[in-house]
Amino acid sequence: MKRNPLTIGIGILLIIIFALWLCVFQVRQSEVAVVTTFGKVTRSITEPGAYLKAPWPIQSDHHLDQRVQNFEESKFTEGLTKDGFNLLTSVYVGWRITDPKAFFPKYAVSATPMVEAERGLERLLGNAKTAVIGRHPLGAFISAADGGNQFVEIEKQILEAIKTELKANNYGLDIDFLGFKRLGLPESVTQNVFERMTSERQLLINRSQFEGEAEALKIRSEADRKAAEQLSAAEAKAREIRGKGEAEAAKSLSVFQQNPELANFIFRLEALESSLKDRSTLVFDQSTPPFDLFRGASTNLLRK
């Protein structure tokens, strides 16, 4: 078979390219690489660029993200505050790899070492968070007072607690920041809060209702008082006026002194007439004039 030098050359070039591919690897700006030789960590690379290594299975390169990783607790966990209130909290954490050589052996077994590391962090976080929450009353989390709440201080305490743990055990990672993402109450307590909110509104409703009634009552009683005063004043004046009339009328009584018996007789007649104005039933005998005529009085008079 005729050997084509060009074909052979291209074949060799391809083999060289593939061989280079086996022996060269890149580390990105956002990455950190760990090189293992027969499974043992021999080198860690934090600067970006291209590097050489022995081909697999002699050496392998493992790439890890060196940027700040952000994760949130997978569960909304319940804790007890210092004053005995159940509080649900969820925290988000920013962490990054600080020592790849220490980090890799701990989490390399998993196909997703970053996820595995976050699971471990979540366990530490749970412990630290519960402990710190228990040192503060509910008012430190929720307060409309002038001092406000103490979020920042509490977050710092949780962060310090976890950092201590990480440093003590050389996890090869560090937490940059931490923050409360959610606060909540258990379902049963939430119902109680709803009831309290309803009661609070009911208080305002009752206040408005009874303030309105009280105000209305005051206005009405004031009106009644003024009306009574007016009427009383008018009655007094009327009495005074009538009194004046009586006084004027009394001036003419002296006329009746000319013949008091006649005056009294006339007044008795007027009284008699006045009293018989309503429906009356009268029973007379024969001695009452003019019915004494039935006894023949008139005829007796005519005989004379």
Partner: protein, 624 residues
């Protein structure tokens, strides 16, 4: 030549064995599903190559035996009266026949079991794994499979060319599998490239395709086994090995398809298309054309176009290119992949997310949004309320605990990337981090705010405060983003308690109504009282005047009555009495007792009697 073919057969066997074992190990290590399925073909090919190599050796022994026998019979002549042609005189031939009669079918059945079993196993496995299972160590796997492909291709091509000669037909099964192995390794390489290029399902789909192919090969083996029973045995005609797969041969040597296509074209067009210069050029230069295409493809990665609203990050061997890290919209030249790589981000686009409740898509068309009707997937936030003396006393030292309320909020936050380098290199998931920071600030703010203030006059201030705090948080984390707006668009109590909030407004209105009604009564009472007072005074005035005039008139009358009385006192008196009596008793009922016996007691029934016609009234019967 014979040694070459046996050596070639052994080489195929070793190549398939090494490629199969190494390839499977690499596929497992790199978590490539397509690689694992592909290596099953190579493993089966290794078995086929082993059996065909052994069969080659048997045929070779038979041929040598025949040659020796021919040499012997030529030299001695036909001296024997009866020539023995027993099979025992040809043990090699007998071995080969028995091998072909017994071992080959059993081996083919064994192959069928492997092919069918592997197809079923991988089908089960693929149905359980995620579609986008990550391929790790992509570069290493890529390189190794490419090397395997190259080596197997060169070996396979050589063996396939030799196998075209009739007497070396037993090289063909192994050569087909070697070539198929080469093409499969190439396909696996493409699958890994696809995953690395951002198509995470490429490896899975390739694995599934290979699994289906494995199943088809198993089906073809079954058909071959069945048809072998009915195949006529023609003396002198050499049969095709039962374990040789036509499908594998077709896939391993696709130029056969091209030849078949050329023959079809010749037949269709009526002239020899396959003899034209273009066809011959295409046939010869196919490999070079493919290579040229690959080179052009690689060179095309030197040009990158950044769209409007985007920016690109240029990295050389993973490191940002100094002085040219950020690529603005437009066309740019760079080194080919994998030396230079560009990562795109939408920077000018205003991006947004929502903290708190997200709108319910099924209720987006409703035009009226009420607190009492659910219109979002509610998420309650804790809010403080100023202690109004209603908080509970806690256990720790008797300190009063402020009351807590719940609020539903929906706060859209809009932001823009201002520093792409910081955005891309400082945080792994900057989008998610900004959302976390925003949510944290909202939670912190609400936990320190008063519910009443927040829902009334404090909204604008709250919005501004949140924007400043979120921006501050983004700057502390060096995110390279600018928060454009934070809106408190949906802020209300939970649906469950919202009606009570509305009732408060109703109660305020009721209070006002009562006060106004009382004021109306006030006006009425005072007006009436004034009128009554006026009437009373006027009435008394009238009485006074009447009384005075009456007194004057009586006095004046008496003045005239006195002389009349003095003129005839008894007559005047009687007359006055009788006149008065007549006037006064005119309307009264009078009874005059004209009896002398005044000792009898008389009873007068003075009761009022009912009218007689009233006795005739009948009461109608009540209606049922």
């Amino acid at each position: 030549m014979e040694r070459d073919t046996k050596r070639n057969g052994a080489l195929n066997l070793c190549a398939l064995l090494l490629a199969g074992v190494a390839g499977y190990a690499v596929a497992r290590y790199a978590n490539s599903l397509a690689g694992q399925v592909g290596m099953v073909f190579v493993g089966v090919g290794m078995l086929v190559a082993a059996v065909s190599w052994f069969q080659m050796r048997l045929e070779d022994r038979e041929r040598l035996e025949r040659l020796e026998f021919d040499e012997l019979t030529k030299g001695k002549g036909a001296s024997a009266l009866f020539e023995s042609k027993d099979a025992e005189a040809f043990p090699a031939q007998r071995s080969r026949e028995q091998f072909e009669r017994f071992f080959v079918p059993v081996f083919t059945v064994f192959l069928l079991l492997i092919q069918g079993g592997a197809a079923w196993f991988f089908h089960r496995l693929l149905s359980q794994v995620a579609l986008d299972t990550r391929v790790t160590q992509a570069t290493m796997a890529l390189s190794l499979f490419a090397v395997f492909a190259l080596i197997l291709f060169i070996l396979g091509k050589f063996s396939a060319t030799m196998a075209r000669m009739g007497e070396f037909r037993l090289l063909r099964p192994g050569a087909s599998y070697v070539l198929l192995g080469a093409y499969l390794c190439f396909a696996i390489t493409m699958g890994i490239v696809g995953v690395a290029a951002g198509f995470p399902k490429a490896d899975f789909y390739l694995a599934y395709g290979l699994c289906v192919l494995l199943g088809l090969v198993a089906v073809e083996t079954v058909i071959s086994l069945v048809l072998e029973i009915y195949r006529p045995r023609i003396k002198g005609k050499v049969g095709r090995p039962l374990y040789e797969s036509r499908l594998v041969g077709l896939l391993g040597q696709p130029e056969g398809l091209i030849t078949t296509a050329a023959q079809a074209l010749d037949y269709q067009f009526g002239f020899k298309v396959s003899d034209t210069w273009f066809y011959r050029f295409f046939e010869k230069a196919l490999g070079w054309l493919v290579l040229l295409q690959a080179v052009i493809l690689l060179l095309s990665t030197c040009l990158v176009v950044i769209d409007a609203g985007e920016q690109g990050l240029l990295e050389r061997f993973g490191k940002p290119v100094a002085g040219n890290t950020l690529l603005e919209p437009g066309a740019h030249l760079k080194m080919p992949w994998p030396i230079d790589r560009v990562y795109r981000y939408r920077t000018e686009q205003i991006q947004s997310f929502t903290v708190g409740s997200t709108p319910d898509p099924s209720k987006e068309k409703e035009r009226l949004v009420l607190w009492t009707v659910s219109h979002t997937k509610e998420e309650n936030f804790l809010v403080a309320s100023r202690d109004q003396g209603y908080g509970t006393t806690n256990r720790a030292g008797g300190k009063r605990t402020p009351p807590v309320s719940l609020l539903v909020v929906s706060i859209p936050v809009q932001y823009q990337i201002t520093n792409l380098v910081a955005w891309a290199y400082n945080n792994e998931d900057a989008d998610s981090l900004l959302q976390d920071i925003a949510t944290r600030e909202v939670v912190r703010f609400l936990a320190g705010a008063d519910l009443g203030d927040l829902m009334t006059s404090g909204r604008l201030e709250a919005s501004q405060t949140l924007l400043e705090r979120i921006q501050e948080g983004a700057e502390v984390r060096k995110m390279g983003a600018k928060v454009i707006s934070v809106g408190l668009q949906d802020l209300h109590p939970p649906v469950k308690v919202a009606p009570d909030f509305e009732k408060v407004i109703g109660a305020l209105q009721t209070k006002q109504a009562k006060i106004l009604a009382a004021k109306a009564d006030d006006i009425k009472t005072n007006a009436l009282a004034e009128a009554f007072a006026f009437a009373m005074v006027n009435s008394s005035e009238a009485e006074r005047v009447a009384r005075e005039l009456e007194a004057l008139s009586q006095a004046s009358l008496f003045q005239n009555q006195v002389p009349a009385f003095q003129a005839a006192p008894s007559v005047y008196a009687q007359r006055a009495f009788l006149q008065t009596f007549a006037r006064a008793t005119a309307g009264a009922r009078k009874y005059v007792l004209l009896t002398t016996n005044t000792h009898d007691v008389l009873t007068f029934d003075l009761q009022e009697k009912i009218r007689a016609d009233l006795y005739d009234l009948t009461v109608p019967a009540p209606k049922k």
